[in-house]
């Protein structure tokens, strides 16, 4: 359970932030900010997909709601940025409940298709209304915000939100809610017979996923300065899906690794030109095929091998009870 370890983790993260701040600025910091934002979004998707086994291919849609919600609140209603993001996230949580409705009866393939369709529909809707800026999208007046505190503000804000997302992920998954979700994923009938309300938990999972996704989307819009439809189209949904799978679904820190993969690989291979996308795709397939537990699964296995004696003790303890 949390306390000591959690506090240590948060402290470690804060130290890391500070160190990054010392050594990294400008463009690298922008890339790291994107990494945190994608991690935050993947944390949300990991709740429905990793723990609830509800396959959502529409997570980009929640990020879209976050980005456009923030943009609309700022540009049309004059909200300040933090309030705009909060509004967008709250709105997205409601949207999440509605997107979750089909999940009450659908699973696997059908659910993936319906959520995918949701993402594409949103993407086309914002593209066709002038209120949301049409095909160009909406530019956010954030040059001041981006420059604030020498560009550090958004970096720290993203870090803070990612930590919050992590904490929320942790408390959901290690609590009654998380267990209920995992039980539903394992067997719905059994879950019901233990008094778990399927609809409530599925919708809760989608609402929380939407909330985190929208926070990430809003931050993304602030950091890039634009809420453009193409950014939040079906490709983003696939990207987030890939990030969760690559990191290791159903693992608390998996989203961070997965997001690092999808952000870092294209960035590091930028010099390879058109070959970059091929490299990315090959690595993606390799990770998914060779490491079904994702990158984190691989690290855990490696760790377990390295610390063999510990495991042997555990096995011995297990055998001891058979008398």
């Amino acid at each position: 359970m949390i306390p000591r370890r959690g506090i240590l983790a948060v402290l470690a993260a804060l130290v890391a932030l500070f160190v990054v701040d010392l050594f990294v600025g400008g463009y690298p910091r922008y890339i790291l900010t994107l990494w945190l934002i994608y991690s935050l979004s993947a944390l949300g998707l990991n709740l429905v997909m990793g723990f609830g086994r509800l396959y959502s291919l529409g997570h980009g849609g929640f990020m879209l709601v976050g980005a456009y919600g923030t943009a609309v609140a700022m540009n049309h209603w004059g909200f300040p940025a933090p309030l705009a993001i909060a509004f967008a996230a709250a709105f997205a949580a409601i949207v999440g409940v509605f997107v979750g409705l089909p999940a009450i009866r659908l699973r696997h393939f059908s659910l993936a298709i319906v959520t995918f369709a949701f993402g594409i529909t949103l993407f086309q809707l914002v593209k066709s209304f002038a209120y949301t800026g049409g095909p160009l999208g909406m530019f956010l007046n954030v040059t001041g915000l981006q420059a604030l505190w020498q560009g550090r503000l958004l970096w720290y804000a993203a870090a803070l939100l990612a930590l919050l997302g992590l904490a929320m992920s942790y408390s959901v998954t290690s609590s009654r809610t998380g267990r209920a979700l995992r039980m539903i994923a394992a067997n719905e009938t059994v879950a019901r017979s233990f008094g778990i309300h399927l609809t409530f938990y599925k919708l809760t999972a989608f609402a929380l996923a939407a909330l985190l996704g929208a926070l990430a989307g809003g931050m993304h819009a602030l950091v890039t300065g634009i809420a453009a439809p193409d950014t939040y189209g079906p490709d983003l949904s696939i990207l987030m899906f890939a990030a969760v799978m690559i990191g290791g679904q159903g693992r608390l820190f998996g989203p961070f690794l997965g997001a690092a993969f999808v952000v870092a690989i294209p960035e590091l291979t930028q010099g390879a030109g058109a070959l970059a996308q091929i490299i990315y795709a090959v690595l993606f397939i390799a990770v998914v095929t060779l490491l079904p537990g994702g990158l984190l699964g691989m690290l855990e296995t490696g760790w377990r091998r390295a610390s063999g004696p510990l495991v042997r003790t555990a096995v011995a303890g297990r055998e001891g009870t058979l008398q």
Binding site: V24, A228, E300
Partner: protein, 393 residues
């Protein structure tokens, strides 16, 4: 255990990001090199149209470098692919300016991506942004410090040439239609078109927008056919317009008169369509067709650098942009600064490129061309219908 792993990951990322060092030198210029950056759709739905603009410009820079460069410096032109996605264009612009420290952003193509770059540069007003192939009015209206354009915007194209097309139609059109791709600036253009139609006593019977890269134009053409307008304004990418024209051919209908925006003066449009558009289509052109004698200089440069690239409207446009860019850098002198370049451009008056009308900029007007060339189609080839046109005041 998991926490240690996460810490490990964080440290690795840190190391990685620290490796990407921060440069703080004077942007993009040293003793023997000028670094220009660009973002263009080198792949994706508009690549065939847009990428040649980059090749045309690069080829011209190569030629200039072979001849000794500009004021003793070679021009290096680094173009990143944006796949015609605004967000990637934005990221590219950020990378070019903040990471690669380019002297200026040069070229580019298509409206959405140019608009994104424009947005990014609003926080970097000193960075020159030269000659994207984009027809939106926001580039130069209002005038922005570092932004210069060559392609007359869509509204200008419509105002300058649609009245001419209506007057020269075989039969005076009574009903009109607008079929446009949904790109930024489209609303202004619709308004301008409606105004011209109205002024000429034409009733608008159909007005639809469609998405970029729509796979199948059949529903639009069926509806158009049912309304049977006399004149139609077509606004689409070159390949998209070609698809649309072939769909009309399949459905056995076309309007008496068609008017196309500048994209329809590209070979990528006409080659698949062939002689189907003969005699009823006219379009607003900017730069001489590659078949014109004055285009040979550009074509030769292209052949030297990109032997596989066929000369077309966009290689010509890239060549034109590069010519003007080189001239401005030259005029800015050996002590090259961004300020100097902007000043040199603002004092450029009636510069003769040979492949377009005279180019003029001023501190209040950053739009270099002020006329369009009326293109028509005959035997599946572009022909120039007459002298350059300006909007009636």
């Amino acid at each position: 255990m998991r926490r240690s792993l996460a810490t490990l990951g964080a440290v690795a990322l840190l190391a990685l990001s620290a490796a990407i060092t921060e440069a703080v030198a004077e942007p993009g210029v040293d003793d023997n090199r000028i670094l220009l950056g660009g973002s263009n759709a080198l792949t994706g739905p508009v690549a065939a149209v847009c990428a040649p603009a980059t090749y045309g410009a690069k080829a011209w820079f190569d030629k200039v470098n072979r001849d000794g460069g500009v004021q003793g410096r070679k021009i290096e032109y680094n173009v990143l692919d944006d796949g015609y996605a605004a967000e990637r264009a934005l990221a590219n612009a950020r990378r070019l300016v903040q990471q690669d420290n380019v002297f200026a952003i040069f070229g580019g193509c298509a409206t959405a991506t140019s608009a994104a770059i424009l947005q990014f540069l609003s926080s970097q007003p000193d960075v020159p942004y030269l000659f994207p192939w984009a027809g939106m009015s926001e580039l130069t209206e209002p005038t922005k410090k570092g932004v210069f354009a060559l392609l007359p915007n869509y509204v200008f194209q419509v105002k300058a040439m649609l009245p001419y097309t209506i007057q020269h139609a075989n039969q005076k059109p009574k009903t009109g239609a607008i079929l446009m791709m949904n790109v930024p600036g489209v609303e202004d253009m619709r308004k301008a078109t409606r105004a011209v139609f109205e002024a000429n006593g034409i009733t608008v019977v159909y007005d639809e927008l469609f998405e970029v890269n729509v796979p199948d134009h059949t529903p639009y053409i069926l509806q158009l056919k049912a309304k049977n307008p006399d004149i139609v304004l077509f606004g689409d990418s070159a390949a998209g317009a070609a698809k649309m024209f072939l769909t009309m051919k399949r459905q056995g209908w076309h309007p008496q008169t068609g008017f196309g925006v500048a994209t329809l003066t590209a070979e990528q449009f006409l080659d698949p369509v062939g002689d189907y558009a003969d005699g009823w289509l006219s379009a607003a052109g900017v730069v001489s067709p590659p078949s014109a004698p004055e285009a040979s200089e550009c074509n030769d440069a292209l052949k030297a650098s990109y032997p596989d690239q066929k000369p077309n409207h966009f290689t010509m446009f890239g060549c034109l942009a590069a010519k003007i860019g080189v001239e401005a850098i030259n005029r800015a002198g050996r002590n090259l600064t961004r300020q100097g370049l902007i000043a040199a451009l603002e004092h450029m008056q009636n510069y003769e490129t040979k492949i377009s009308g005279p180019i003029s900029f001023s501190p209040t007007d950053h739009m270099g061309t002020n006329a369009v060339v009326p293109f028509g189609v005959k035997n599946g080839q572009f022909i120039i219908l007459g002298p350059p046109l300006r909007p009636a005041q």
